[in-house]
Symmetry: C2
Subunit: 205 residues, 2 copies
DNA sequence: TGATACACCTAACACCGTTAGAAAATAACC
DNA sequence: GGTTATTTTCTAACGGTGTTAGGTGTATCA
């Protein structure tokens, strides 16, 4: 009893802590293995059994860390939106005039989507899987710096939501049409098209 | 031999023809059952076995009409693009000034996407499934009337491809963000946003 | 009628997500 | 240290998936 209430477990082993560290390690390994397999085989071919083999455990172990397969994807989706948000924030911190800034943000989002395409596919349910819908707030949250930039361009708050949505649609429309093989053009050319479209859009508001 | 070369099989039974008719009927029933199940259960829950049960055959029968499950989806995808094309052509035939016409086309495409959402999901791989990519030409082909309308607005052919792609990206971006639950707003409001974005885009070129 | 072609079904394979329950390993206690 | 209790991990299974091989019956033809 007294042992359990100890606050400062410095000098004697605290097994609980180590256990929790190990548990977290298995969870992290699961997430990493999922992404590795997705990049290698594509999301439709990622299975619990393959993930388990990759982390050298049997399948049921995964269910001690995740409720089901969907929960793994959800976790990665959250990580993805957080990463994208950081990426955009880094760009926004460089400052500058709003329209060039918006173009920089667009280019950064584009580059990120193709660099971490496995995450992007999970976030936007592009390559299949995924029954449940994500929290709509994660999208708008990760684009908060874009919202700020749009506010710098135009001040009527009531319309800013609309502009943000149009910006998302342009970006995601371009990316998903290319990622799903719906369009054949060179990627760098498409990136240029997108930037021009966003610029024209920004100048028209 | 002589019988086979007969050109006018009017007055005696031609079993081959009946057989082919029956074959085509099974194929059509398969496609219909797939769509029915998709509307009812969502694409991820559509299986060969369920389709077979729906058309009152055993699963292997389906493989006499389709190479595999993917081939069923491919067929529906082609049908979808053809239907969308007809829908857009009907609107384009009404004529009018190019910018209002473009807005009418956009609205028609939007309405069609949500009316035949099961087809739209197959065409753009929105709800999962689908390993193979579609033929990129089917997209541009079904939007040929939009291309014509854009040409009426602006004449530099080299840029028209870019404008067409931007139009697609706007449209598909809006639709897919909404269909995948990424955004929560009212659908009619979103439709209005899209139309305003397209109008701003058309006026800026 | 007998031979042939065809449509259809049964049964199976290998995989999937998921869960119940046994086995093994670890921690806690005397 | 030896014994109990707890926690971690595994084996095995259930019901589902796409797909295929091989047998069965029926309809067409000579």
């Amino acid at each position: 009893m007294a042992k359990k209430d100890r606050v400062h477990p410095t000098e004697d082993f605290n097994h609980k802590e180590r256990r929790e560290r190990e548990k977290a390690a298995v969870k992290a390994a699961t997430l990493k293995a999922s992404r590795d397999l997705a990049r290698q085989l594509g999301w439709p071919n990622v299975s619990i059994r393959k993930i388990a083999k990759e982390i050298q455990y049997t399948p049921p172990v995964i269910y001690q860390h995740f409720k089901n397969k969907e929960a793994i994807l959800m976790e990665l989706e959250i990580q993805g939106f957080a990463k994208l948000k950081r990426e955009l924030q880094t760009v926004a911190e460089k400052g500058g005039d709003p329209i060039p800034k918006l173009l920089n943000l667009t280019g950064a989002a584009w580059d990120w989507a193709f660099k971490e395409s496995d995450l992007y596919q999970v976030m936007f349910n592009l390559d299949s899987i995924h029954a449940a819908s994500p929290d709509p707030r994660s999208l708008s949250d990760s684009a908060s710096v874009v919202l700020d930039t749009l506010k710098e361009i135009h001040l009527f708050d009531s319309e800013v939501d609309e502009y943000l949505f149009t910006w998302w649609a342009l970006l995601h429309g371009y990316i998903s049409l290319i990622m799903s093989g719906q369009v054949s053009g060179k990627r760098s050319k498409m990136r240029q098209f997108l930037l021009e479209a966003v610029e024209r859009f920004a100048k028209s508001i």
